[in-house]
């Protein structure tokens, strides 16, 4: 399976990449890690006439904590996150968990966080993670650069707020406070398969042990990763208990709207979504030294 022919344009700066994208509009796609785009091109599910390779753009090879956010540039690899020196800090446990289960270890050496968000696969790992972590995406457009909250960024399956001629430059994950931990729970048939179901959870506690803020999101639970607002509202302000976790998990199950396929029936996947949210909440709490 060989992709359809295309013109290859190599960008060495963000300006150059942006100029190419403006010139070619809907005909062009950005090539970052290529771990979703190239297989899609090989299956002829995608036939871009022009690829703009941003891998040589040094400014986009960024992974740093700066001004209260973790900046993940458009060509920072999943494996860069997995190997970052600060990643073992429990406040980053959600991001750390995810960086170890995206695709497989070789794919992670090319695959990028921003590329995964832009691809917006219904079963993507970074989309649900970005929702739970309340990330933002920096998008360059004609009118300049704007920062788009993840809830607005993820529009629908394979569709984002990045319009024709635009490009995503970075994802920003707010630096969680030190009473924060998370968890990513994924069930897959084998390493590298799409998730049968996955849940991303992040909890911040108050000094008195109540939950200050909760992030709960599902992947592989409908056309697009979905925030479980009902569960987040339920959890906020409460002392964590087994009953509360069960209620949040039930809310996730109800909200999950998966498709039945070889990985499982609708009933199974909806149930699994709740199980994974409960496991994620328990693990995040355990990381904070709380049994519930």
């Amino acid at each position: 399976m060989i992709p359809a022919a295309f013109d290859y344009l190599r960008a060495h700066s963000t300006d150059e990449a942006f100029a190419y994208l403006q010139q070619h509009g809907a005909e062009a796609r950005v090539l970052a890690g290529g771990q979703s785009l190239i297989p899609a091109m090989r299956f002829r599910l995608a036939r871009p006439a022009v690829l703009v390779d941003i891998n040589p753009v040094r400014d986009l090879n960024v992974l740093r904590v700066n001004g209260g956010v973790l900046e993940v540039g458009a060509i920072a690899r999943d494996s860069d996150i997995e190997r970052a020196p600060w990643i073992a800090d429990r406040r980053w446990s959600l991001v750390h968990d995810v960086s170890r289960v995206v695709a497989d270890p070789v794919v992670r050496q090319m695959g990028t966080v921003v590329g995964s968000l832009c691809h917006n696969d219904p079963a993507g790992d970074w989309t649900a993670t970005a929702l739970a972590a309340r990330a933002e995406v920096v998008v360059r457009g004609k009118a300049g650069t704007r920062t788009v909250p993840i809830d607005k960024f993820l529009v629908d399956s394979f569709t984002t707020a990045v319009s024709e001629g635009e490009m995503a430059l970075a994802a920003h994950f707010p630096v969680p406070d030190d009473r924060t931990a998370g968890s990513y729970q994924k069930v897959e048939r084998k390493v590298g398969d799409f998730a049968t179901a996955a849940a991303a959870v992040q909890l911040s506690l108050n000094a008195n042990g109540t939950i200050r803020e909760a992030g709960v999101a599902l992947s592989a639970a409908g056309p697009c990763a979905v925030r479980i607002d009902e569960a987040e509202r339920m959890l906020a302000g409460q002392k964590p208990t087994a009953e509360l976790i069960r209620a949040a998990a039930d809310a996730a199950s109800r909200r999950s709207a998966p498709q039945g396929d070889l990985r499982g029936s609708v009933e199974y996947k909806k149930n699994l979504a709740g199980v994974l949210v409960a496991r994620g909440l328990r693990q995040a709490l355990a990381r904070l030294g709380v049994q519930a």
């Binding site: 290859y8 190599r10 290529g34 190239i38 891998n55 494996s79 270890p105 070789v106 590298g192």
Partner: protein, 155 residues
């Protein structure tokens, strides 16, 4: 388009279509058929090569154009003259292969793993090779082979 890729220390300059995948560039344009193509869809890891000394990549899921100006290591570049690389020696001593189809990808994935993690545990090795499929060995001896290489090549 012209691409110039240094493969195992030798510069190969070739005129290719942009859609040429690195795996086919290596096999057909450079004549280096040690890099195998298994699934062709980035699932099996047979085609893994090492880019710029430390990054394992699936060469079926990367264009040759992306390797322009970069260094690629394939299985043909592992041995030092007639002396096997410790990973090759490990696979030999530990019977880490049967049909051999997955072996180049296994060794190159392990090469990058050992670069980043010179003293891996058994679990690290198993996790690091999780993107490489073998249908013969049951993986046991592949893990032993990588352990031997990590020990400095002593069986």
């Amino acid at each position: 388009m012209k691409v110039k890729v240094t493969v195992n220390g030798v510069a190969y300059e070739r005129d290719v279509e942009p859609r040429t995948l690195l795996a086919y560039f290596l096999r057909e344009d450079c004549g280096l058929t040690g890099t195998h193509v298994g699934c062709d869809t980035s699932s099996c890891g047979c085609c893994v090569v090492v880019m710029d000394g430390g990054r394992a990549v699936k060469s079926c899921t990367m264009f040759a154009a992306q390797a322009d100006g970069h260094d690629i290591l394939t299985v043909e570049g592992l041995a030092d003259g007639g002396k096997l690389h410790p990973l090759q020696q490990g696979f030999w001593d530990q019977h880490g292969l049967q049909c051999g189809y997955c072996t180049p990808g296994m060794m190159l994935t392990a090469y990058a793993l050992l670069k980043h993690h010179p003293t891996p545990s058994e679990a690290d090795i198993r996790e690091g090779l999780a993107g490489n499929l073998c249908r013969c060995t049951g993986y046991q001896n592949i893990v032993k082979a990588v352990q031997q290489a990590a020990r400095g090549g002593q069986p």
